[in-house]
């Protein structure tokens, strides 16, 4: 048996091994500068992406309608894959999307008012028409009007959060409606990691204001710093794609879709075979302590880390440094992906510059 004194002794010992503060403040100041610069760039980037998306999506939609005629509202969006998105904000509203996540059933965004300081982050989730979303709890709320359409306000909408070990409920205010395409949209204050305090919850007026900025747009490709080529045989398809503040991305292959009540992306889950993360390099670019240099991938330096017992990264991770990014290709489940397959995925991937979203491409290269 151990004692509390043993525990305190270990805390004291480990605390004495804390890193040297030298350089931390300077790095933080540099990081703050990046954040401010990124925020200024977000609006311009969003507009550019929107313009590009419309230029691509409009011909697509036009072509589809010409061949098939107008689609029934209840089935519009059925064809959307995890790499495609429709949820966004009105570019002229003063809001900008800061992160975006998509799987086969739903999409989530976080968005902010660009001119606001300090920023308050709101979230929105969109359920595809065929996702099986149950609107009953939403419809039990108060009927209101948002941007000229019918919506409902619920003071304590119950989401699930996976930020704790076990799923817990998060009851927060939400505004929701059904788009003409059949997509259900919910807008809420971005929840804290635990039960949010009232002071951090948006007032009703603010929530409605945020909701008015949210749009279901024409379907377009999500762009990330990595574009996957053909996947090796035997691997499951893309299941989720995520970008954060237009600087980094996470892509998952395989795994069941997130539960519909998840307000935020839960990340890798049962059945996830491969997780791919792209993060921008900086002065503090890192590879794992036990990384072994391996042959270059697509001309870029690469490292490999073997799996260690007790980790979820079943067959290890391949690390590639390319065009200002560090990209990790990780076998999340040792039974579902091999190191050889990781290398094949990496070799077939097209790499863009993490710091320049204008260079990014679709998650899956055509």
């Amino acid at each position: 048996m151990n004692t509390l004194e043993d525990l305190r002794r270990i805390f004291d010992e480990d605390a004495s091994a804390a890193p040297d503060p030298v350089g931390v403040v300077a790095a933080a100041e540099l990081g703050a500068t990046r954040i401010r610069r990124r925020r200024r760039a977000v609006l311009a980037t969003s507009v550019a992406v929107l313009v590009a998306a419309v230029s691509v999506a409009v011909p697509m939609v036009t072509r589809r309608h010409r061949v098939d005629g107008p689609m029934p509202a209840a089935t519009a969006g059925v064809e959307r894959g995890p790499q495609q998105v429709t949820l966004g904000v009105d570019g002229s509203s003063g809001y900008a999307v800061t992160s975006q996540d998509s799987d086969e059933n739903m999409q989530r965004i976080l968005f902010e008012k660009t001119a606001e300081s300090p920023r308050y982050t709101a979230g929105a989730v969109a359920y595809d028409p065929n996702a099986g979303f149950d609107p009953t709890p939403l419809r039990s709320g108060e009927r209101i009007m948002v941007s000229g359409h019918e919506a409902w306000y619920v003071g304590n909408y119950s989401f699930a959060t996976y930020l704790l070990t076990n799923r817990t409920r998060l009851d927060i205010a939400a505004v929701g409606w059904q788009d003409p395409t059949g997509t259900w949209v919910l807008v809420f204050g971005y929840p804290s990691f635990f039960t949010p305090s009232d002071s951090e919850q948006p007032g009703r007026a603010r929530l409605v204001q945020d909701a008015q900025a949210v749009r279901v747009e024409a379907m377009h490709e999500m762009t990330t710093p990595i574009s996957l080529g053909p996947l090796p045989a035997g691997l499951p398809p893309l299941s989720e794609a995520f970008t954060d503040r237009h600087t980094e991305a996470t892509v998952l292959l395989g795994g069941s879709p997130a539960p519909l009540d998840a307000a935020m992306a839960p990340g890798p889950k049962k059945g996830t075979a491969v997780m791919i993360e792209a993060r921008p390099d900086g002065p503090d670019a890192k590879v794992p302590a036990k990384a072994a240099r391996v042959a270059a991938v697509a001309g870029y330096p690469a490292w490999f880390t073997k799996a260690t017992s007790g980790t979820a990264l079943g067959n290890g991770s391949l690390w590639v440094r390319a065009r200002g990014c560090t990209i990790t290709f990780s076998a999340w489940d040792r039974n579902l992906a091999t190191a050889k397959q990781l290398r094949e995925i990496a070799a077939a991937t097209t790499y863009a510059d993490c710091a320049h979203p204008a260079t990014w491409g679709p998650v899956i290269r055509g």
């Binding site: 043993d6 091994a17 100041e29 990081g31 300090p118 920023r119 305090s197 993360e277 302590a289």
Partner: protein
């Protein structure tokens, strides 16, 4: 309080706290750097609160617990040693005793509660406020964590009586 004043006084404590949370010096540095960067952007508000340290500590805790951080794997700086020699720069630390090993394997929420309780010396009410959860949740985490760590019940009983 100005940001420079805050970091001059509180940075070592934040680094110690982050080290205990993460169990990894490099992750601790990352955590604190990232949080301070975000804190600096909105320092006008943070610097005006009564307890900036508590606020920033909560940011560190949330960052540690956040889902994005969970996805990450342990890392070390990518320096010439790695680019050239490929030898591990930081030797893997062995768990020298069972308790430290058990502590390292605790779920993050439980570990955070223990660090706040037994290193930062917060009361359960204060921990609940910091983590924005119920006091019962805090006690549940602490109870499960202490059971996992095989902390002797007699010492627990004494400590609980004093809380």
């Amino acid at each position: 309080m100005r940001f420079e004043e805050f970091t001059a006084v509180r940075l070592p404590a934040l680094l110690r706290y982050a080290t205990l949370l993460s169990g990894d010096r490099e992750q601790a540095r990352d955590l604190v750097q990232d949080v301070l960067a975000r804190a600096l952007v909105k320092w006008g508000r943070i610097g005006a609160v009564e307890e900036p340290y508590a606020y920033v500590r909560r940011m560190v805790t949330n960052e540690f617990l956040s889902w994005r951080r969970r996805r990450r794997v342990p890392t070390v700086p990518l320096d010439e040693a790695i680019l050239g020699g490929l030898e591990p720069v930081v030797p893997e630390r062995e768990d020298r005793d069972d308790l430290r090993g058990l502590l390292a394997r605790l779920p993050r929420q439980q570990r955070a509660v223990l660090v706040l309780r037994y290193y930062e010396d917060l009361t359960d009410d204060e921990i609940a406020a910091a983590l924005r959860c119920r006091v019962g949740t805090v006690r549940g985490y602490a109870s499960r964590a202490l059971a996992t760590l095989r902390i002797e019940l007699a010492t627990m009983a004494t400590a609980e009586a004093n809380r």
